[in-house]
């Protein structure tokens, strides 16, 4: 069990957090924990919220559902926190959201799935974009460029399934025709069978939805078959690791991604640039490692919490109401406009279309 306390003497506002700091999802949990600790430290130096300091209690759920439930109960019953940020994964978030709702504890999840905040429950919120918004972003781009026929190739796992459902469901709204619907396994070594089947249908664009090494294999096979159709991928490959694996084959691929990956290339007029640069600079100076979008989710979650407490004080129900009324907050991930029907508050403009060129991210819109 890993127990992390940020020691603040005689603190008044108790904030809990659960992240996957160790285990398979540690790449999510670690930057989230670091970001949150950094922000609380900075804020406490500046006299906290309304003059009261924040006592931050972070627990590790190791990415496991049962562990998340245990840690959540401890935060509520022993530590008496007034709100919880996290958990890092969709599964762990779903595992505790009913508890949070029943016990009346505001929960700001940093996991992506839409199912966390739909149907809307009074106390449950989340900060990352949903897969639907990534799909809408791609479809917007395709429509603007006059594409009509699309082919999709999705992985046979949770991420691929959600993506596939969203891709098929949204296609009608954008007057796109799905001419091929192929699947692949994460362990597949060669995807040229599926791709040559797609090529025969002559689509205007191909969209691949997966994470890990398989999309890189697809990118390589795509080049091997000399397919000159634009290739789109999901936000799941928006990491340097993907470019490293796919090598030269990554060139020319389009994908939706948060602004953080292209922050250096944003024009100075961009309204997100100041906040992104500030976060990037302070994170990279403190931890000497690259800033990641996952830390950004925790950044936004903390600022939402801070705004709500500034307005509503320490009453849990009032905090939840204040969160629901947040409008126009410019965060690292996007602009949050919460409402009683939307406890995420982000729109598709929280993604940007990115293109890979010479192993670097480029803004494509």
């Amino acid at each position: 069990m890993v127990l992390v306390f940020t020691t603040v003497a005689l603190a008044d506002i108790k904030l809990g957090a659960i992240f996957s700091i160790t285990g398979p999802a540690s790449y999510l949990g670690l930057p989230e924990k670091q970001t949150l600790e950094m922000l609380v430290e900075e804020l406490n130096k500046k006299n906290g919220i309304n003059g009261e300091k924040i006592d931050l209690i972070i627990y590790d759920d190791k990415g496991e559902d049962a562990e998340a439930r245990k840690k959540f109960l401890r935060l509520v019953q022993n530590d008496k926190v007034i709100a919880v940020i996290g958990p890092s994964r969709t599964g762990t978030s779903l595992a505790i959201k009913e508890l949070a709702q029943e016990m009346g504890i505001p929960l700001i999840s940093v996991a992506a799935s839409k199912t966390i905040v739909y149907p809307v429950q009074k106390y449950i919120f989340k900060t990352p974009q949903s897969d639907e918004q990534a799909v809408e972003k791609i479809y917007d781009y395709l429509k603007k460029n006059g594409k009509k026929k699309i082919a999709i190739i999705t992985s046979q796992d949770g991420f691929g399934d959600t993506g596939r459902n969203a891709l098929i469901a949204e296609a009608k709204n954008y007057e796109l025709e799905v001419v091929a619907d192929e699947r692949f396994k994460d362990t597949d070594k060669d995807m040229t069978s599926q791709l040559s089947k797609i090529a025969a249908k002559k689509p205007d664009a191909v969209i691949c939805w997966g994470v890990g090494p398989a999309p890189a294999v697809i990118a390589k096979n795509y080049k091997q078959l000399n397919m000159n159709i634009p290739l789109f991928m999901s936000h799941g490959v928006a990491s340097k690791k993907f470019i490293e694996l796919a090598g030269a084959a990554a060139d020319g691929i389009y994908l939706p991604a948060g602004r953080l990956v292209v922050v250096d290339k944003l024009p100075d007029s961009d309204k997100y640039k100041p906040i992104l640069m500030a976060y990037k600079k302070s994170f990279e100076a403190k931890f000497n490692s690259h800033v990641s979008p996952f830390g950004g989710y925790a950044y936004d979650a903390f600022h939402l919490f801070k705004m709500a407490v500034e307005k509503a004080g320490k009453d849990k129900a009032k905090i939840a109401d204040a969160l629901q009324n947040v409008k126009g907050f410019v965060g690292v991930t996007g602009v949050f406009n919460m409402s009683k029907d939307d406890h995420n508050g982000l729109g598709k403009e929280s993604f940007m279309m990115i293109r890979i060129k010479n192993g670097e991210w480029e803004i494509a819109e």
């Binding site: 192929e182 362990t187 040229t192 890990g212 890189a216 080049k223």
Partner: protein, 287 residues
Amino acid sequence: MQFLYSGITSGSIYALVAIGFNIIYNTTGLINFAQGEFVVLGGMLMYTTLTMFGLNIFSAFLITFILMFLVGILFERVFLRYVRLKTEINLITVTIALAIILRGIAMMIWGRDSLAVPSYVEEKTVLLVGGSITSQSLVVIVVCFFTAIVLSTFFKYTKYGKAFRACHDDQVASTICGIDVNLIRMLSFAIASFLGALAGAIVAPITFVTYTDGVMSGLKGFSAAILGGLGSFWGGLFGGFLLGVIEGFFAFILPSGFKDAFAFIILLLILFVKPSGLFGKKKAVRV
């Protein structure tokens, strides 16, 4: 036609793993479920020597092979030799346990991310009738045939090869004839581990290498070995290609989500009709 080339590419990987299974089966009668992990370790060691230490290709291969040869020896010497009751089922269970241990070690040393090994030959696409194949896949296919030729010649025609096979047939009789059964068992694991490393090293530039890869390549390689008939190198080779091509074919004509299911249904059908595999010999057991 592309499904054929796609099938041959994945099939050659299955075939190399199947051949590794066959070596150990041919001498000990065991199924070594850590064969897939040998493949992963081979790929990981190539990554370490080539990318991390920046050695040239020749020394990278050499170091990888020597290390994996030693891993094979340790594997047999330390773990299998000290199993008290050496029934086949006990020893096979030990190989499963070792597979899990090796996977854990690989994860601790190399992490969870996939690693990319640079290509050994210039990356080129070779255009063929109705499709294409990469230069890297051709390397794998050539190595695959070469290994099958070398191994089947060794086992059939050389004195040592015959000793290996004698151990499989009857260990007591082999000992009486002056064959050092312990040494042969150890060598068979060392050769299998070496072959796993060879497979891992040459496929890593195509498929990348992730610590969990051993599960699936082990399973597919095992299926290929069964399909071709356990113990036969040409059977393993053919079984691998057949499994790959069937997968590619079903991915092409059916919704690709079903391709693995259909590949295994075909495998079952063949086993219903010919339980000893396509190239397997019926073994006469005298009572």
